[in-house]
Structure formats: C-alpha cells, structure tokens
C-alpha cells in the first residue's frame, strides 16, 4: 500500500487554491487602490498648476510660501496673495480656474486646499531648520515645478527622514528628541 501525501491533501487542494487566489486578490486590491485611487495626488478645489507658476513663470517657491525660512510651517499663500498677482495678470483673468479663485476672493472665503504632505502630530518637523540648512524644497517635495497637480513623491516616514539625516551627518540627527518632543 502506498501512502501519498499529495493524495491525502487532495481534498484540501481546492480550498487552498481559493485562499491563494483571495490573498493575491488582496494585493491586487491594495495595488489598484494605491495606483488609481491614491491620496498622493488629491483633486484640489482649484486646478492650480505649480508648473505654470514655478517653471513657466519662474516664481521662486518662497515668494508664495513665505514662512518656510522662519516658521515650522511653510505657509500656504493667502487668497489676497493670489489675487495680488491675478488682478494684474490680465491674460489669465478669464480662465475658469482663475475665475474660481476670484470667486473665493469675492466671497472672502479661504480656499480649502487638500493637504498632500503631512507628518503625524507627534513629529516636530520644522521647515525653518531645513531651509536654513540649505535643503532644497525639491529634495523632499520632488520636482514640484514640473507638476500640474501636486503629488507626494517621498513617503514621509521615519526611515526616510533618518536615512537623509544619516547621509548628511546631521548633528543629533538620529537623536529621538530631535523630532519627538
């Protein structure tokens, strides 16, 4: 009498195969979500293009993000700041997205931009330190000047931060208290 393991397992084969298919399905599901429904590139209330502003018109980053070198947060420009130029830039005035902006201004409403880059609340990240240390905006934010809709390039996770701190030999760069306090 021969004993065959595969024979013994035969009844379990089909459920196992179904399980494998389901697990593969889970990965496929996660991939689909990550690729086509990712929150890295959210739809913004106004289809604002960094490419048009930073690349085509060569506006420096800190012209709009004015607090980057003196505050933990870089700052999103106020509606007044946007209007400051857009009242003057005549040929752009009738574009639908600019009209949206004008609408916010007329209603004196802030624009609810969706946050793309974020770190958890227990991380004390500050733009000021990084900008003053000469880190270029693009090193963390990617080639923003080429993006029409802003997208997150870097994972913004702790290993990613620490890698850079290690590579640049940042003073106390690996100390817990540098970021978590």
């Amino acid at each position: 009498m021969s004993i065959s393991v595969s024979e013994a397992l035969r009844p379990a084969r089909k459920p196992a195969l179904i399980g494998v298919v389901a697990v593969v399905g889970i990965f496929v599901g996660v991939w689909i979500n990550d690729t086509y429904f990712s929150d890295r590139t959210p739809v913004q209330p106004i289809e604002f293009s960094h490419r048009v502003h930073a690349s085509d018109n060569e506006i420096p980053c800190q012209y709009c993000h004015i607090y980057a070198s003196r505050s933990p947060s870089a700052g999103v420009p106020s509606v007044a700041k946007c209007m400051g130029c857009h009242t003057a830039v005549a040929d752009a005035r009738e574009r639908p997205e600019v009209l949206k902006l004008a609408g916010y201004w007329d209603r004196q409403e802030p624009i609810p931009w969706v946050k793309v880059h974020d770190v958890p609340d227990f991380v004390h990240f500050t733009h000021k330190r990084h900008v003053l240390a000469g880190v270029q905006c693009q090193e963390c934010h990617g080639p923003v000047q080429d993006m029409d809709r802003i997208t997150r390039i870097a994972p913004m996770t702790m290993p990613w931060c620490v890698d850079c701190h290690t590579e640049r030999e940042v003073e106390n760069g690996r100390d817990c208290w540098t970021c978590h306090k």
Binding site: G25, V28, G29, I32, N33, F37, P42, K115
Partner: protein
C-alpha cells in the same frame, strides 16, 4: 492538469474578487484622513503661522495681581506662564493662573447679549443684538436720570482694582448715584481694618517672608490662598533654601493647610483663640524685656490678663510651648507673625489680627527686613468700595424696600457666596430691572433680565497695581492676547458706550472711544506725574515699553510713609473670645471652612483643569467632602466615605466623610468652591456649598461675614458616597511607617 470546471472557475473568480475588494478597502482604511490647508483670506499682520507670539498681561484669577505671559499661535492662546519680569510672581504661576485658558475657551461662556423671556430664574433667554441691549439699558438709566431718580441705580461688582474701578466710580457718580459696591468674598477687609487700627495705614504692607528667620502664621495659608500665594511661595523657598541660615515656620491652625504641611511645626490651637495666643506670646515678650520701648509699662498693664495659665487654657496650647514660641519669636533676628484664613474670619477676627500686629510691633518687626515693611499706597485704583456682610444686608433691605430700580452686576456672585439667610436672592426678586455684565451664567447672572456678555481678562484692556505691593511702586497693563472668541465686549467698553447713549454730561466726562483709549489716557497721567524721568523719549515709547514688559515699576522709591508707624492700639488691645453660632450641646463641632487652593471661593469651579486637579492635602478631585479626625469619626461610628449630613443653625448639607488625621478633634473642615446650582457644565450640580451652613454673624468691628464662626452637628445617613481621590488609603497597613502604634482601621 485537471480541467477546471465552470463551477470552480466561478469560485476562483469570486474569491479573487472578494480578495481584491478586501484589499482595496484595507488600503482605503489605512489612509490618513483627509486634512485641509486653509490659508487666511488676508494674511495676518501680527504673527507667522507656526511661530509662537508671547503677550504679557495680568492674571485675574485672584487679587494677587501676578504678571503673566501668554503663548499664542495663529491667534489662539495656548499656554499661560508667569512673567519673569513681574516682581510679584517672578516667572512663576499657580494652578489657578494656568487654568485661565479654560475661562477663555470655556464652552459655557455667554456668547451674545441675552434677554430674559420666561420667569426670572427659569433660565429662558433669547439672543438680542448689542445695539438693542445697550439701547434698552441706556434708555432705562437715562429715564431715571431725567426723572432725577438715578440714585435708585445700584452697581455691584467684584473686587475690581485699577483704573477700571475708577471708571465704574465715575460712571455711577455722573449718573447721579452713590450706589457702587464691590462684593468679593476673599477681600481681606478684616486685615485692612486691623492694619488701620494698628498702624493707621489701611493698604496692605509687604510681609517679608523671604528674609525672615522665624515665621509664625496664625491660620494664614500663605502657600495656598493668602493674599499673594505665588509671591509668598517664592519667599518661602528663599526662607527654606535660598540662604545660609534656614528659617523656621510655625503654623497655628485647627486644620492642617498646605502651609501647615510645609511648616516645621503645626499647632492646632482652639479655633478662634489665635488672638489670645498672640497676646500670650506678646505678654512674655514684654515681661522678659525683649520689648524695651518707652511705653513698656502701658503694654505690660494692657497684657496683664494674658497670663500663661489663662492662655494655655483658652488656646489648648501647653504653657511650655507658648513660652518656647515666645522665646524663639523674641530671640530670632527677623521674626514675623501673620494672620489669615479662618483666624481672620471669626467674630473676633479684627481683634485677633490687631493682636498679631501688636506681636510684630513688640518683637521689633516693623519696617525691618524679614518683618512687615510698609508699602506706599498702590500706584492707582485700590479697591475702595468693598461691601461686607453689613453693607450687603443693608443693600438687600434697600432692594426689598423697592429703593433700587436697576441693579447692574459685574463679576460678582453673591447668591452663591453669601448665606441664603442674608436674603440677597429674595431681595433681588424685588428689583424691577437687573442687568448682568458677565462672562458666565453663574447663580447671580441667571437672575438677570438682561445679560451683556463680557470679555474674559485675556481679551480685554485693563490695568492693575498689585496689593499687597512689593515694596516699590508697581503697575501692569492688561492687554488682549487674542481676538474675542465670541460676540462679547469688555466691561469698560460697555460702560463707555452706555455713557454715550445716556447722554447729558456723561459723554463729555467719559469721552474715550474704548477701554484702551481710557487706560492709555490714565497711563499718560502716570507717565507725566510718577515717572517723568522714564527712559522713554515720549509717552508712546513709554506705553509700548510697559506693554511689552508687562510691568512698570520704579525701583528707587522703596519704603512707605514712615517706616514703622507707632501702633496706637495699646488701650484697646483685647483679643475678645470668638463666639460661635449654635448651642454647644446641640451642635458639638466647629465648622472650619477654608478657601480651596484650586476652586478658591468657587469662582474656579467652572474650569475643568481646576476640577480635575487634586486637592493638595486630601487628593480629592471633583466633589465635596467633609474632613474629620479619625478619633472623632470613631466615636460617631463614621467610616471613610460615609455620607454625612452636616447641620448648622443656618442649614444642612450632605457630603461624604474624609478621615483626615491632621485636624483637631471637635473640628470639621470643608473647602469652599463646589455646590453650584448654575455656572456651566463643569460646576453645576457638583458637591455642596458650605457657605449655606454659615450662620449670619459678622465680625464685631468690621461687619464682615464671620464664615468661620458656626457650629455644626453630624449625622451618619447610613449611605455610602464615592469620594474620587488619588491617595489610595491613608493607612500604612501595619508597616509602622508613621508611628509604631498606628493601626487604626
């Protein structure tokens, strides 16, 4: 390879589909919630987002007048710290000061002007506009003025100091009334009267705890609630550790307070006998030749009755102990006696405090470092309209008689902080119009017909000269640290706009557009009269410098009028025995209420941080409790946590028992502060109010409510009540840590 049947294929597709769906949902679930970056429409001028801005202003949680620095971010107050430049608190701050943020952002603040719609006290109000509210009030006041009946307007506020008090004063005078009273439960009226009787100076002197070698405190909880606790805590630290010779502290009180716990020795004298003890010590100082003044014989005669035996019998302190205290008090290089707390709130309070003053005089402590140093009068705006029980009872009678047509209230809560028997609530019912200028719906505000919501102190302009002063002229400007949170106005603005609307000579005499202009104008006077040699180039620079620093002071001008005024009290020196309301046989226990270091006289009860802060001595949070000695409890068969009915001749309340070894048997203690029937979600219906046990008795000389002069009886209801506390149990479980025989159950 076997063929896959159609049925199997469908199963695989199903499994794959379910898996994919699950994977998709999983990925969706672990995404961070969407956050928004909402920029301002117009960029802020006075801050950068993310960068903290600190504003210096004045704390208003008690009357010490500490300077505070408030950290703000994006126009929101985040944290309050002490202002390091302010001489009162020197960068430190107490819990009450820290909790000021809870007042600013309190969810139960009154957010818009309210008009009563239901019966008075029902709590039914409708929101009205500021314009309507001010027009109504101004119309009512203006009509009374036209009819020449403006003396029927009564203004009742809390203990307001600074120029704001003067504004109120001017307003009510211009209106044609002299009815302005300040009811502040914690105002040291007895101490001020005693100082006037002893020294001829009513404003509070500087008690130099920092430099004293021997501090004898008669009931004054100087680390918790007495006059200026943060400053005295600093002084205590200096006394203990800040110098080569460590000073000694003795605390005389029937129930151990925070200061008692930090003293070298705690002496539980019979309640109300503090003055006798002081004079007993004084007699020894005169008899043994420590006092060498020319009027020594007169003192000797005056103190004759306070012989050792009599003092020992009256105070319950052993004769040798009194002699030791006298020897130490007399021989210390710098000794200091202070009186406060329950010792300054009996029927003999002023006499007791005069006795303490006499003790200081005889030991040569007046005008000496480490003793009592006389301040010059506060730079401006001392609270002078204080109303004690006598005046408040008179006011209640006037209201009952219909002599008051309009009652204007601000920042005072007599319905809570006065015994019901005083009849203030009933008398308010007889007043046709009650207008409350208030930030919170407290018991008194709830009775108003019209409520004008006021800014908290963190949103308003004002100023303050601290009292007790610090030996040199000091004053601070109070400035808004954030924009108003709700549709409120500062009380100064309300008074000024009322003046404009009433007309007559009021807008001419009170021409300022707002409180800021008024305060600035007042400081212009201070600049030209008091500090013409200031470093500033002009007033604007002076003003900005004072605002920025949070304090103005003149260092060179120390000392006060006459360094050691001669006490003129020898003929009348007499520590009358305290009388207690209630028959000794029927009410065997003396009630010892005390100011809570957190909720104070109850004004802090609506601040959640203070509610959840454990009491320093008992570790209890949130509720009320009644402290009694384990020996007393044993006799009555009361266990820890039993619900006790406490009955006095004036009323009765129920609270759980807390067995507290550091209280004299025969005395039961309760903190003030809880037992609100209104005042927002954190205060309302929590604990009981011991003021309602206090019998209507006043000090014989000052007419102040003698809140420590009531007897009570206890009855165990047989019910159990939960006392929320952090200390676990007070027993050492046979480990004999405290003393060998300690094993009480």
């Amino acid at each position: 390879m076997s063929k896959i049947s159609r049925r199997d294929l469908l199963q695989y597709i199903g499994a794959g589909g379910v898996g994919t769906g699950a994977g998709y949902l999983f990925a969706e679930a672990i995404k961070r919630p969407v956050e928004f970056l909402i920029p301002p429409v117009v960029p802020p001028e006075d801050y950068s987002p993310g960068v903290a801005t600190w504003y210096n202003t004045v704390c208003n949680q008690c009357s010490a007048g500490c300077g505070i620095s408030v950290r703000t971010r994006e126009g929101r107050a985040k944290k309050i710290e002490g202002n390091p430049a302010h001489p009162v608190n020197q960068g430190r701050l107490c819990a009450r000061g820290q909790a000021g943020l809870n007042a600013l952002y309190n969810p139960d603040r009154i957010r818009a002007p309210l008009k009563r719609v239901g019966e008075r006290g029902d709590g039914a109000f409708e929101t009205i506009s500021w314009d309507e509210a001010l027009t109504q009030v101004a119309g009512r006041l203006g009509r009374l003025k036209i009819e020449d009946r403006a003396d029927r307007v009564q203004l009742l506020t809390g203990g307001i100091r600074g120029h704001l008090g003067e504004l109120f004063e001017q307003f009510i005078t211009l209106l044609g009334s002299d009815r302005y009273a300040q009811y502040d439960f914690t105002y040291p009226a007895n101490l001020r009267l005693a100082n006037r009787l002893s020294f001829g100076i009513e404003h509070l002197p500087y008690y130099d705890i920092a430099n004293c070698d021997f501090l004898l405190s008669f009931g004054a909880d100087y680390l918790g609630t007495w006059l200026s606790p943060v400053h005295f805590s600093l002084g205590y630290g200096q006394l203990r550790q800040g110098r080569e010779q460590r000073g000694r502290c003795i605390q005389i009180e029937p129930r151990m307070s925070l200061s008692g716990a930090n003293a070298d020795e705690w002496i539980a004298a019979v309640p109300g006998s503090e003055g006798v003890l002081a004079l007993g010590i004084a007699r020894i100082l005169v008899a043994d030749g420590t006092y060498t003044g020319s009027d020594r014989d007169a003192w000797q005669r005056a103190l004759e009755p306070y012989s050792g035996d009599r003092v020992a019998a009256a105070t319950g302190v052993a004769l040798e102990r009194v002699q030791q205290l006298a020897a130490e008090f007399g021989s210390s290089k710098a000794s200091l006696a202070i009186g406060g707390g329950a010792a300054a709130a009996g029927t003999n309070a002023v006499a007791s405090l005069v006795a303490v003053n006499a003790l200081n005089h005889l030991a040569g402590n007046l005008g000496q470092p480490g003793g009592i140093i006389f301040n010059s009068a506060p730079v401006f705006g001392s609270a002078t309209r204080h109303a004690g029980l006598t005046q408040m009872t008179e006011l209640a009678a006037s209201m009952q008689d219909g002599a008051i047509e309009v009652l204007l209230l601000h920042d005072t809560n007599p319905i809570y902080a006065m015994p019901d028997a005083a009849g203030f609530a009933d008398a308010m019912a007889a007043v046709p119009t009650i207008v409350a200028m208030s930030s919170f719906m407290d018991e008194t505000t709830a009775m108003a017909d019209l409520i004008l919501p006021t800014d908290t102190y963190l949103e308003a302009w004002g100023d303050d000269a601290p009292e007790p002063g610090v030996g040199l002229p000091v004053a601070s400007i109070s400035q808004p640290v954030v924009a108003r949170v709700y549709d409120t106005r500062s009380v100064g603005d309300i008074v000024l706009s009322l003046a404009r609307r009433i007309g007559f000579e009021l807008p001419v005499a009170l021409p300022w557009a707002n409180t800021k202009e008024f305060i600035k104008d007042a400081w212009k006077k201070l600049y030209t009269e008091l500090d013409p040699q200031a470093d500033a180039a002009d007033f604007e620079e002076f003003w900005l410098a004072a605002l920025q620093a949070g304090v103005w002071g003149r260092v060179e001008a120390t000392g006060g009028p006459g360094d050691a005024p001669a006490p003129s009290t020898i003929p009348d020196i007499d520590a009358a025995a305290a009388t207690f309301a209630g028959d000794t046989a029927e009410f065997p226990f003396i009630l010892h209420p005390y100011l809570s270091a957190t909720l104070f006289d109850g004004r802090g009860a609506n601040l959640p941080w203070l509610q959840e802060l454990p009491d320093q001595m008992t570790s209890v949070v949130y509720g009320s409790w009644i402290e009694l000695n384990p020996a007393t409890a044993g006799e009555l068969g009361i266990r820890d946590g039993d619900l006790i009915e406490v009955e006095s001749p004036a009323g009765s309340i129920r609270a759980p028992a807390y067995l507290f070894p550091a209280i004299e048997p025969g005395v039961v203690a309760m903190p003030f502060g809880q037992g609100h029937t209104a005042y927002g979600r954190y205060a309302q219906n929590r604990g009981v109010n011991p003021v309602q046990l206090v019998a209507l008795q006043s000090d014989q000389q000052s007419g102040e409510l003698a809140w420590a002069g009531t007897r009570v009886k206890l009855r165990n209801t047989g019910e159990r009540a939960r006392v929320v506390r952090n200390d676990g149990i007070s027993r050492t479980l046979g480990r004999q840590i405290l003393h060998p025989e300690e094993n009480h159950a």
